[in-house]
């Protein structure tokens, strides 16, 4: 994606933030979103407005459709043959499910980090360079070197890998691999980063490192994270969306608001039960 344009919008958004209330900027918005797997309605009538340059956590019991909602934000569900989506997802005011929208173009702007670290079986350097190349990078070798150093620094990984950039990405530890996956995502400078339980396969120290990284990144990026870990949601996110299941096992959005409010003063009994551990 075009670096120049991206920087411009960031500057614009910062200016707007200074002038108006920050929560006016919508990064992405689901409107009456329904997702089916075959005939099974997995997610029903979700309306969700995600704030820009904030971390939003999606929480809820297993199977309530958190991953499904997250994946519908960059049309990742298109890769599942049985999945079908109705409703709208508005990104910069444009419905990404409208006919004629290329999911590839959507994903260039809305990146994703997965539950299990999945670096490519390429070198650390290539893991980052590949995504940059396929997104139309035209610079020289030294431009690329700089970009990779800068990216790895932003991902808090540079010091650990600077002497072995040409080793396989798979030679890293799980936590380092996940930071590499975050690095390769931010290298293409998306607007939004989706993270589906990015720490669930990691040890506590790696988890804290990634949380710290997320807070740093949220100054520049909009981050949406699915997590099963209440403490994690409370620690990193500014907004939290709680999903729950209806009787026919469809996921619905139960409650959404500032994390601090949702955790200390939930409006909904089911939310309260869930966050206090009496449910799910």
């Amino acid at each position: 994606m075009n670096l120049g344009i991206h920087l411009d919008t960031t500057v614009n958004q910062t200016i707007i933030e200074e002038i108006k209330e920050p929560d006016i900027i919508h990064a992405i918005e689901a409107k009456d979103l329904n997702v089916f797997y075959g005939d099974f309605l997995a997610v029903r009538e979700v309306d969700l407005v995600i704030q820009a340059q904030k971390i939003t956590a999606l929480i809820g019991p297993s199977g309530c459709g958190k991953s499904t909602v997250l994946r519908s934000f960059n049309r990742m569900n298109d890769l599942i043959p049985t999945a079908r989506t109705t409703g709208e997802v508005l990104f910069h005011g444009k419905n990404i499910y409208k006919e004629g929208v290329d999911p590839v173009e959507v994903r260039k702007r809305i990146g994703m980090v997965f539950q299990k670290p999945n670096p490519f079986p390429k070198s650390i350097y290539e893991n980052i360079a590949w995504g940059v190349h396929i997104n139309g990078f035209k610079g020289s070798k030294s431009d690329m070197d700089n970009l990779i150093e800068q990216t790895l620094r932003s991902a808090a990984l540079w010091d650990e890998v600077k002497d072995k950039l040409h080793d396989s990405g798979l030679s890293l530890s799980g936590g380092q691999q996940q930071r590499l996956c975050i690095a390769r995502t931010i290298a293409i400078r998306p607007d939004i980063i989706l993270m589906d339980e990015p720490c669930s396969a990691l040890d506590p120290i790696s988890t804290l490192k990634i949380e710290e990284l997320m807070r740093d990144l949220s100054e520049e990026y909009t981050i949406i994270i699915v997590t099963h870990n209440m403490q994690q949601a409370a620690r990193v996110s500014e907004f939290t969306a709680f999903f729950s299941l209806t009787e026919n096992r469809a996921g619905v959005l139960m409650e959404y608001g500032l994390t601090i409010q949702l955790f200390t003063n939930p409006k909904n009994k089911i939310t309260e039960d869930y966050i206090t551990g009496r449910f799910g």
Partner: protein, 318 residues
């Protein structure tokens, strides 16, 4: 002892010494099964060793004959046992040429088919193409040989001219051999592509990659060791294939690099000579084992090579 113990199960014996008898017990059926498994393993090893020893012995008789020179065997360009000319190069060149032609066809098409089947094809199309490939793999090589002779060669001759393409020629045989190997390469490659975890594909799509970029730049390299193994197995098969070349490539050693000429491969030569009237224990007869030994060493080297390649890529990629 065993039965006596069993009879009083659970161990209720008040006799402490009997209860605490912890010596190892004979387990007859386990020993029998284990013995059978070891026996089966030994048989397969013995068979291999037996073949190699037999091959080596007969070949040794050839090589120790005063009329045979080792240097001539490897560098001579004439193979004419009647006049004691045993230069393997004409047979070798035909083998290499037909295999190259076969692989030149089977590798690109096989890889394309595999990528298409694994990454692009819908379930319905896959269910049409896969059985067709399996049928192709099941066609007897005799039939393929005649297909080369009676279809491929006339086709070539009508395109390139009768004066360019001989009736028996290495090219037709090579092309049809490629058709024979195609299912092997495509199905092994498809397995290798299939084994690449989906999380890797999702990671690539998540960066805004197109399907082509994901397939060729992420999935294909990740499956490289399986693909290398498929290719090497294909080469082995091409070198060892006898029937197609015996029928369509030509009946007489010919040292040439023109694939449109008739020439005889190592396997083709063995088929023809051993099928004719040949006196056992003659130099002629023994020479076949020398050729067979060369073929064996060829494929052995290829197999070792493929193991090496696989291991090296494992180190890099896993």
């Amino acid at each position: 002892m065993y039965e006596a113990k069993n009879a009083q199960f659970p161990a209720t014996s008040t006799d402490e010494a009997d209860y605490m008898d912890l010596r190892s017990q004979p387990r007859i059926h386990e020993s029998i099964i284990k013995g059978f498994l070891i026996f089966s393993g030994v048989i397969s090893i013995l068979t291999t060793v037996g073949i190699v020893v037999f091959l080596g012995q007969e070949a040794l008789r050839f090589f120790t004959d005063p009329q045979v020179s080792l240097v001539e065997f490897f560098t001579g360009t004439v193979w004419q046992p009647q006049i004691y000319k045993f230069g393997i190069l004409p047979l070798l060149s035909a083998t290499v040429m037909s295999s190259l032609i076969a692989m030149g066809l089977a590798i690109p098409i096989g890889l394309s088919v595999a990528i298409y089947l694994s990454e692009y094809a819908s379930q319905r199309i896959r269910s049409i193409i896969k059985p067709s490939l399996e049928i192709l793999a099941g066609i007897p090589t005799v039939v393929l040989g005649f297909f080369a002779l009676t279809f491929m060669t006339p086709l070539l001759r009508s395109i390139l001219g009768n004066d360019v393409v001989q009736i028996y020629n290495v090219f037709s045989a090579g092309v049809v051999m490629g058709i024979l190997i195609l299912p092997l390469i495509s199905s092994m490659t498809e397995d290798a592509l299939h084994a690449v975890p989906n999380t890797l594909r999702e990671g690539a799509y998540g960066l805004g990659a197109t399907k082509l970029e994901v397939s060729t730049q992420v999935v294909l390299p990740a499956a490289i060791s399986g693909i290398a193994a498929a290719i090497i197995l294909g080469i082995s098969r091409a070198i060892g294939e006898a029937m197609i070349v015996a029928i369509a490539a030509g009946a007489g050693p010919n040292f040439t690099i023109n694939p449109f000429e008739a020439a005889e491969t190592m396997t083709g030569h063995i088929v023809r000579i051993s099928g004719g009237d040949i006196s056992y224990d003659s130099l002629d007869y023994n020479s076949l084992f020398a050729i067979a030994l060369m073929l064996f060493l060829f494929t052995l080297t290829l197999n070792i090579l493929s193991q090496r390649i696989i291991r090296r890529f494992r180190e890099v990629y896993e």
